[in-house]
């Protein structure tokens, strides 16, 4: 047992616990908070995978931005405090199907090994990412910016009150 494994186990537990909490908690706000736990755990895992830049982005975007958006969403809509119950039958069916799915995939990944690790990723990680982004992936990068813009505009239009429509 080395330190690396200990860290991984800790992060693994944080991530999964966050997920399970999110599923099982009853209040919506608590769910979102549990999710933050998961996001942070994942960020940690990223660091372990020599992806510091992605980890930082993860914390910023997910734990920060998206969580905030979700909280806004919750505040802007009315919620009965408790999450309404879903029928056991439905849950059962979904659970069975997902378990089956889990075992099939698990069977596939259990002993998966695809070759030697990349060992240079942690060296100047952000530089490497930046180089790749602005050389090979410059066009997708620009496209993503357009997508973000469109999403922004779209979100505003959608969320805006449709006053003219109501008046008509």
């Amino acid at each position: 047992m080395n330190g690396e494994l200990l860290v991984f186990l800790f992060l693994f537990l944080v991530t999964i616990t966050g997920g399970l909490l999110m599923i099982n908690l009853s209040k919506v706000i608590h769910m979102v908070m549990a999710l933050v736990l998961t996001f942070l755990g994942i960020a940690g895992l990223y660091v372990m995978l020599s992806a510091e830049f992605v980890a930082v982005v993860q914390v910023l975007i997910y734990s920060g931005a998206i969580t905030i958006i979700m909280l806004f969403g919750i505040m802007l809509t009315k919620h009965t405090e408790e999450e309404p119950k879903t029928s056991w039958a439905k849950k059962g069916i979904v659970l069975t199907v997902i378990t089956a799915f889990f075992f099939i995939v698990f069977k596939g990944i259990r002993t998966m090994s695809l070759g030697p690790q990349a060992d240079k990723l942690h060296e100047n990680n952000t530089e490497q990412v930046g180089l790749m982004l602005f050389t090979d992936y410059v066009i997708p990068f620009e496209l993503v910016s357009v997508v973000l813009l469109v999403a922004l505009v779209g979100a505003i239009i959608l969320a805006k009150k449709d006053e003219e429509g109501e008046e008509q």
Binding site: K90, I93, V94, V97, I98, A100, F101, I104, K107, G108
Partner: protein, 612 residues
């Protein structure tokens, strides 16, 4: 010999002519029918006499074929059926004539004569059959004619029930015969009587199979001849017009059972068990029916039970190896029983009443009927020198010679009972005080009765111990191997028979004097009056039982099978509804279904690809 063909054809023609010209003929139908059956009778006489001279004849033609087996139809003339032909056509002819008078006031007289023609056709066809298939065809046809004629007064509920009963009960017997025919066919490969007898005598059929077949055939005879336990239809069949009772239910059709046993005699005589069965059934029926006849009140029912009893007598004779005796009694019985029925018809025609306790003293109003009836009664009672005396004597002799003394005692006792109940009837109807106004029947009804009366007197002289055994000798010339023995009885036998019948007559006279109206109703009497409750027994067991089974299966059908089908349909419907419920419009459900599908595909790939 060519005229043989005409014998069944003539009555058939009569039937067809009447059938198609019914509305025009109306009352003339009787004349048409009488002429045709008269002609048939003439032909039958010709055939009879030519049989004396030329011997037996057999003509056959192809009917149709099952693969290589060619089924034939044909006519056969041998002593037995030549005799039967004469009896059938004669009685039929006389009954036709009688009916012209008896049925004169009935609207449906033409239909009546049509049926009579059809019956005569079927009966002669039956008698002429050289093979079992043809015999069975006509066997059923006479049954249906009987059914039609019993139900002639179709608007009477009793007639309806009686007709149905007559058909169904005899049908039960017929099925026995049918099965026997099937078995014989697969044993011998033929329906032809001569082929069958050859293989029976050659021992091609195992003895147990012979017994089985013989008993099955006998079941057929039991049904038709009203033997116990299938006798119940015959008394009820008296709901038909009286001439019908005389023709079908006394002289001809019911005798067909006896005739059948006689025809199949080589088969029966090969099986001791079968012979015993025939004898015991016959003997039992004889005494059984006679006891019932003792207390009945309806004039026709008494005669019906008497018929059953006498048919039992004939069966007894056949079973006791008295071939000649059986046939002999069949002949004489046809004459005197037809006479008695016609006389009863004459009485009923005159007083419109069938209860003998409501009649009396009719001798004065109906002198000729009374005289003829007396002849009939004497003849059936075995009064010396009348026809019945000789035939009954012959039966007693062969039973005695057979050695089964229980049966012999039964026969003697039946002779006594017969004399008693016949004269009880005679005295109650004709003797005593006049109770009602009545007019003697017309000449057209009396002439047939007269002819039958004459025959009832002289018919016995064809076979007597004194003048010669003409009938037996002649029957022996049959083409089939039958053993005709001439039993010699000790002299005390006829004497005791005479004494018994005289005792019966005397007792009946005393009885009639003592009791004019009503009778004591002690338990025995009640038991007899209700015919041993056999009808009630059948109604409770067989009829009810069949209906219960029917209801059981009906509810089974309705609830289990139909219900099962409905449940299946329900299941499919529920599945369909479940399928449509999935289309709820909720994305999550769609997602679940889609994802399930994905998982199923993955599973399939994993399993088929061998990843597990």
């Amino acid at each position: 010999m060519d005229v043989v063909w005409l014998i069944p054809i003539l009555p058939l023609l009569s039937f067809l002519i009447i059938l198609f010209t019914r509305p025009n003929l109306y009352r003339k139908a009787g004349i048409v029918g009488t002429i045709f059956t008269g002609a048939a009778f003439g032909c039958a006489l010709l055939v009879l006499f030519s049989n004396f001279a030329e011997g037996n004849q057999l003509v056959e033609a192809n009917w149709f074929s099952i693969d290589s087996v060619v089924l034939t139809v044909g006519v056969e003339v041998n002593p037995l059926n030549a005799l039967m032909l004469v009896i059938v056509t004669l009685v039929s002819f006389l009954v036709h004539m009688y009916s012209i008078g008896y049925m004169a006031n009935d609207e449906r007289i033409a239909t009546f004569f049509g049926y009579l023609g059809l019956f005569t056709f079927a009966m002669t066809g039956l008698v002429l059959s050289p093979n079992l298939l043809q015999l069975y065809v006509f066997w059923e046809l006479v049954g249906v004619c009987s059914f039609l004629l019993v139900g002639f007064y179709f608007y009477k509920p009793e007639a309806k029930a009686a007709a149905k009963k007559a058909f169904i009960v005899t049908r039960i017997g017929d099925i026995g015969l049918l099965v026997a025919i099937f078995l014989l066919f697969w044993q011998t490969g033929s329906f032809e009587l001569d082929v069958i007898f050859e293989s029976v005598l050659a021992g091609d059929i195992t003895p147990s199979m012979v017994t089985l077949i013989a008993i099955l055939i006998f079941i057929g005879a039991v049904g038709k001849s009203g033997q116990f336990p299938l006798h119940t239809w015959l008394p009820d069949a008296m709901e038909g017009p009286t001439p019908v009772s005389a023709l079908i239910h006394a002289a001809t059709m019911v005798a067909a059972g006896v005739y059948l046993v006689a025809v199949m005699y080589p088969l029966f005589s090969s099986s001791e068990t079968a012979m015993t069965t025939v004898a015991i059934t016959g003997g039992f029926t004889a005494i059984f029916a006679a006891t019932i006849a003792l207390v009945q009140r309806d004039i026709k029912r008494i005669l019906a039970y008497s018929t059953i009893s006498q048919l039992g007598y004939m069966m007894l004779a056949l079973g006791a190896a008295g071939y000649t005796a059986g046939i002999f009694h069949l002949t004489t019985h046809a004459f005197f029983k037809a006479l008695l029925f016609l006389a009863a018809g004459s009485v009923i025609h005159a007083v419109h009443e069938q209860d003998i306790f409501k009649m009396g003293g009719l001798r004065k109003q109906l002198p000729i009927t009374a005289a003829l009836c007396l002849i009939g009664c004497l003849s059936i009672s075995g009064f010396p020198l009348l026809a019945g005396f000789f035939s009954k004597d012959e039966i007693l002799a062969s039973t005695y010679a057979d050695g089964r003394y229980v049966l012999f005692t039964m026969a003697l006792l039946t002779a006594f009972l017969t004399a008693f109940y016949m004269f009880r009837l005679y005295f109650l109807v004709f003797a005593g005080n006049e109770s009602s106004k009545a007019k003697e029947s017309s000449r057209i009804m009396l002439i047939p009765m007269f002819i039958l009366g004459v025959l009832s007197v002289v018919g016995g002289y064809i076979q007597t111990a004194w003048f010669g055994t003409f009938l037996g000798d002649w029957l022996e010339t049959s083409p089939y191997p039958i053993t005709v023995d001439h039993p010699t009885a000790p002299i005390w036998l006829p004497i005791s028979a005479i004494l018994l019948s005289l005792a019966g007559i005397g007792l009946a006279w005393m009885y009639a004097k003592k009791l004019r109206y009503g009778e004591r109703l002690n338990p025995v009497h009640r038991l007899l009056f209700h015919k041993y409750y056999i009808d009630e027994f059948y109604r409770v067991t067989i009829v009810k039982g069949t209906r219960v089974i029917g209801y059981f299966w009906m509810y089974f059908d309705r609830f289990i099978i139909e219900g099962g089908a409905q449940a299946l349909i329900g299941l499919v419907k529920r599945m369909a509804r479940a399928g449509s419920d999935i289309q709820s419009g909720q994305v999550q459900t769609y997602g679940t279904v889609a994802f399930s599908g994905l998982v199923v595909v993955l599973l399939l790939i994993a399993v088929i690809g061998g990843y597990f």
